[in-house]
């Protein structure tokens, strides 16, 4: 029997697979494809203080082995999310991780504090790495001093464990990870998307209305693996890994690099069953490479 369970701050996961924030909404659409209770956890779409309408369209562009997106944190705002989305997801019984975003440190604080009102959310993912908004977002995720400041504020405001979502756009990913660890982060999630651009030939203009977008999908997996591998050796808090995962082999690669659990993003769009398919395939993949549990594989790829 392969043991898929893993324990992280605030999270008792029956398996290490969860949909990534922004790629799963609040679960309603994918609940029409399978029982969400099968998931290890769910990372909700970003919540901001007020409703956000997001960017103009086009908001997505396909790339080689990936895609660019510039949604712009469209969400109904923290109040509505607490009233309607959290209770919906909670009925499925798996842990819920709320993604917290904002334009100012104060907005992050306010949103984080609002999640204290419910006992249906188990951890926060601090989104200081969204590249698609004009204010805040990745600005906090590329400056270690600002990242630490937001992390401290949110830690003070929240009763929940805080996972800080790191941006691959940071110059020094290890320095960034250490900065937020020192500021009190309980865990890390990495990586968010990489800022990119596509020029549309017929119009000879950037294809996305926002001009730049976040690159995701298999194209960025090697970057994610490298960054997790480096960060794992420098910090003592667990990592939830993400970036281009499409199958159980990818998951094992993330575990070996140092992730304790993983999130699946872009793959959901091509295959709505990506998460349950990976959960089904994971025991056999672990066995094939000589592991009896998820825990056993974490960080085993690191040459010390």
């Amino acid at each position: 029997m392969t043991n898929l369970s893993i324990q992280l701050p605030g999270l008792q996961l029956k398996n290490p697979i969860m949909p990534a924030s922004g790629c799963f909404g609040f679960g309603r659409e994918y609940s029409e494809f399978y029982d969400l209770g099968k998931l290890g956890a769910v990372m909700m779409k970003a919540a901001t203080g007020d409703e956000r309408f997001g960017n103009d369209t086009p908001r997505v562009a396909e790339t080689a082995s990936g895609m660019l997106n510039a949604i712009g944190l469209q969400n109904p705002g923290i109040k509505k999310i607490l009233e309607t989305e959290v209770p919906f997801l909670s009925d499925y019984g798996m842990p819920i991780i709320a993604n917290v975003a904002g334009s100012t440190p104060e907005e992050y604080e306010k949103v984080a504090a609002a999640f204290n009102e419910t006992d249906q959310v188990h951890a926060l993912e601090l989104n200081i790495s969204c590249p698609n908004v004009k204010e805040g977002g990745v600005q906090f995720g590329t400056d270690p001093v600002m990242a630490a400041e937001v992390t401290e504020k949110v830690k003070r405001a929240s009763n929940l464990p805080v996972y800080v979502k790191l941006s691959p756009n940071a110059g020094d990913i290890v320095g960034m990870a250490k900065a937020v660890e020192n500021a009190g982060a309980d865990g890390l999630s990495m990586i968010n998307t990489i800022t990119g651009m596509q020029i549309h030939l017929p119009s000879k203009r950037p294809l996305l209305a926002n001009q730049t977008g976040g690159l995701s999908g298999p194209a960025i997996k090697p970057v994610a693996i490298r960054m997790i591998y480096e960060v794992k050796q420098a910090v003592n808090i667990p990592i939830i890994g993400m970036g281009g995962i499409t199958n159980a082999e990818d998951v094992l690669e993330f575990l070996l690099a140092g992730a304790s659990a993983v999130a699946v993003g872009t793959a959901n769009f091509q295959n709505p069953f990506a998460c349950p398919d990976i959960i089904d395939a994971l025991p056999e993949t672990l066995r094939k490479y000589g592991f009896h549990s998820v825990q056993e594989a974490v960080g085993k790829g690191i040459i010390s």
Partner: protein, 251 residues
């Protein structure tokens, strides 16, 4: 629970310039598809599925017909699939055209380019309900024209081309004064055409079908949105649409 469906390709042919018609067999989709809905089709080697509208349905044969234009690597790859092979599709997705008109009433169908296909299954359905149809179909040029005969069998059909190489020269909206009276219109085509249609037919009940680059195709990712005309945020084209009441969204 929804599934991803395997659809066997029965027939594939190029019926106009870079325009492919494919007949696909799948019981579930053929029994559930409504006019104006779309399939979200996986294309080998591509991250994102391609949304393609349903052009016709044959319940007895359990087939669905799609038409698409080869415009990039995804549609080129899709066009390379041959009869006997299967493609993987989510669907039928979205909310299609409400089939509202009463028997004896007259309805206008106005399609531009690759916006023409979804109007065909709608037209067939309306005609079988006893509705009278007038169609205006616009294409770039003579070599791009398809389904002229099919629409002519449904009712009076006007063809226009941008370059005047066949039918009238000009846009779909240029013919609006020549069609005679109609109570309701349905339209699908490029953004500027839909803008012109809804502007010119302001006050007349109508439905428009929109196209946008999509991610998930099921309403999750918020890629394909359009502002609601009442200022209350966005509508999702894939889930709330692709068909909207003409006054519902801000084009």
């Amino acid at each position: 629970m929804k599934k991803a469906e395997e659809m066997q390709i029965i027939k594939a042919s190029e019926i106009a310039r870079d325009t492919v018609e494919m007949v696909l067999r799948n019981r579930y989709i053929s029994q559930h598809a409504a006019p104006g809905q779309f399939l979200h089709i996986h294309v080998e080697g591509h991250t994102l599925r391609r949304p393609i509208s349903i052009a016709d349905v044959n319940h007895e044969e359990e087939t669905v017909t799609i038409l698409f234009k080869i415009v990039g690597s995804g549609t080129r790859q899709l066009a390379a699939n041959r009869p006997g092979m299967s493609i993987n599709a989510l669907g039928p997705n979205g909310n299609g055209f409400p089939v509202l008109a009463q028997p004896g009433k007259t309805v206008l169908l106005a399609g531009g380019g690759i916006g023409v296909p979804p109007l065909y299954y709608l037209g067939k359905t309306l005609k079988s309900n006893g509705v009278k149809l007038i169609s205006i179909l616009g294409f770039q040029s003579k070599v791009d024209i398809f389904y002229e005969k099919e629409f002519s069998q449904l009712g009076t059909t006007f063809i226009v081309t941008d370059d005047g190489s066949y039918g009238g020269k000009g846009f779909v909206t240029d013919v609006l004064d020549d069609t005679g009276l109609f109570e309701l219109y349905y339209s699908c085509g490029p953004g500027p055409m839909l803008q012109a249609m809804t502007e010119k037919l302001k006050g007349k009940p109508g439905y428009i079908s929109l196209e946008e680059r999509m991610g998930c195709g099921v309403g999750t990712c918020l890629a394909c949105v359009i502002p609601a005309s009442n200022g209350d945020g966005y509508k999702k084209i894939c889930k709330d649409g692709p068909v909207f009441h003409a006054g519902e969204v801000s084009l």
